[in-house]
């Protein structure tokens, strides 16, 4: 596993987040590792690898922050977790737009929505996120291979 890639993505996300939000990017590296490994299998620039992993970490962190709310009573900690999750869910969209990952954004939008539906039903299926990324990368690779063949 490329630890550098994960650390670079953490640093990039931390640097991109507004200091006013005060978010600490503290997602366990194990949570980022599956996508890092997946990204290494595809032919893309190191910059794009890092950006894609950054977007993934932002979404994972948003999911984590709102999951943490389940056990909290009203108060500052709950407020921060709600706000962090809200900020990160909005921020991943901004990152996709900034880095012109439009196809990725369109692909992820229904998946992230479905994850919310499942969570609201009390039957979380967060694994849909990684599966969604796998499919996106495969489709993108197939398209690229097909266009090269033509």
């Amino acid at each position: 596993m490329n630890h550098h890639l994960i650390q670079d993505a953490y640093r990039l996300l931390q640097g991109e987040c507004s200091p006013e939000a005060g978010i600490i990017v503290d997602l366990p590296a194990l949570e980022a590792a599956p996508l890092a490994m997946l990204l290494e299998q595809y032919d893309m620039t190191a910059v794009r690898q890092c950006r894609l992993l950054t977007i993934y970490i932002a979404i994972k962190l948003a999911l984590q922050r709102h999951k943490d709310c389940e056990l909290l009573a009203s108060g500052e900690e709950l407020t921060r977790k709600v706000l962090d999750g809200d900020y990160l869910y909005s921020f991943y969209v901004e990152l996709c737009l900034k880095w012109e990952e439009y196809d990725l954004l369109s692909h992820l939008a229904p998946i992230i929505k479905q994850i919310q539906i499942k969570r609201a039903e009390g039957r979380p299926e967060d694994e849909r996120l990684l599966k969604g990324w796998e499919l996106f990368l495969r489709l993108e690779h197939n398209r690229s291979t097909a266009s090269q063949a033509i």
């Binding site: 389940e70 500052e76 407020t79 901004e94 929505k113 539906i117 609201a120 039903e121």
Partner: protein
């Protein structure tokens, strides 16, 4: 007195139907689900639909007619607003919304949180599917992204019981929390119908000034309205540590400042009531009103610049309504 939607000639039923369709036509949501029911209840509990109305007003400044796109954007704006209200209620632990039980008190914090997330995610999904043109899609999504709204909330949180907050900081927070979405609504409506950039920028500026005036007025009402009308004790903002504009003006009076600065999270209700009464009796409320009026005047200046458009009258209606000149 005519209602805002009547003055603007926008049928609210159509707005509401479009908002409901965002859930009804979502194949991923069973109609009998708790999520669908909760959202329908929230939509049907009322609301003035100010943001969708602003999208539609903005669209009237452009040469292109694309009602379907405009209605969808209008519904999306309300969805974003409603989602933020659900989360606000969780944060504030508010028991009521629009006179009914707040969603988190009915379905629990976790479910309400994810229902709010669903609503935001649904907007992103719809805009990225419907918008064939990359530039527009990116524009609409970035406009409706709520990072600035969140930043306003963070700013509010970090400034709790901070009596050294400046008026500039207060205005920045109000821009992020309230004015930006209102300004965006006018602007995305305008952009959707091909309005030129100069005009849509003016509409944004109008919306921002109006939004700030609206927020100031809201903060003022917390002091001027009776507890019965507010549905909670007057001065609730101060009670919860929010240092709003009336308080900032009152802090300029040395005697009052000492009283105000003594308010903390541990203060008794009687102590807060006393300070609220003192602020009411001071000229802080007039100064607050005057600043709100200044923003309204600046917004009105923009209407004059848009006089060539018949829809400039709609801006005047929004200003009269949100500026408190009409009910």
């Amino acid at each position: 007195m005519r209602r805002l939607e009547e003055t603007l000639n926008i049928p609210l039923k159509t707005v509401d139907r479009e908002i409901e369709n965002m859930v009804k036509f979502d194949r991923d949501v069973p109609r009998s689900s708790q999520l669908a029911k909760s959202i329908m209840e929230l939509i049907r509990s009322g609301g003035k639909r100010v943001r969708p109305l602003m999208v539609i007003v903005g669209s009237r400044f452009g040469p292109v007619s694309d009602p379907q796109k405009v209605w969808r954007l209008a519904a999306a704006a309300e969805f974003i607003h409603a989602a933020s209200l659900i989360h606000d209620d969780i944060i504030d632990d508010s028991p009521l919304r629009r006179g009914q039980k707040a969603m988190h008190t009915k379905v629990g914090v976790s479910e309400a949180l994810h229902i709010g997330n669903y609503m935001s995610a649904r907007v992103i999904e719809l805009i990225s599917v419907y918008s064939a043109e990359r530039e527009r899609f990116a524009y609409h999504l970035s406009s409706l992204a709520t990072t600035r709204l969140c930043l306003g909330e963070y700013q509010q949180l970090s400034l709790l019981y901070d009596y050294d907050v400046t008026i500039e900081q207060y205005l920045e927070k109000s821009k992020n929390k309230t004015a930006q979405l209102m300004a965006t609504c006018l602007q995305i409506g305008a952009q959707a119908t091909g309005t030129d950039t100069a005009t849509s920028d003016l509409l944004y500026s109008f919306g921002e000034k109006l939004g700030i005036a609206f927020q100031i007025r809201d903060d003022l009402l917390d002091f001027t309205q009776s507890s019965e009308k507010l549905g909670k004790p007057a001065g609730g903002d101060l009670r919860s540590g929010q240092v709003t504009l009336p308080v900032l003006f009152a802090l300029r009076d040395e005697g009052l400042a000492r009283q105000i600065r003594s308010i903390s999270v541990d203060s008794s209700t009687a102590q807060v009531d006393e300070v609220v009464a003192a602020i009411r009796a001071s000229d802080a409320l007039q100064q607050t009103e005057a600043l709100s009026q200044r923003y309204l005047n600046e917004a009105e200046e923009i209407i004059y610049q848009l006089n060539d458009y018949p829809s400039h009258q709609d801006l005047q209606a929004l200003l009269d309504y949100l500026g408190g000149r009409e009910k």
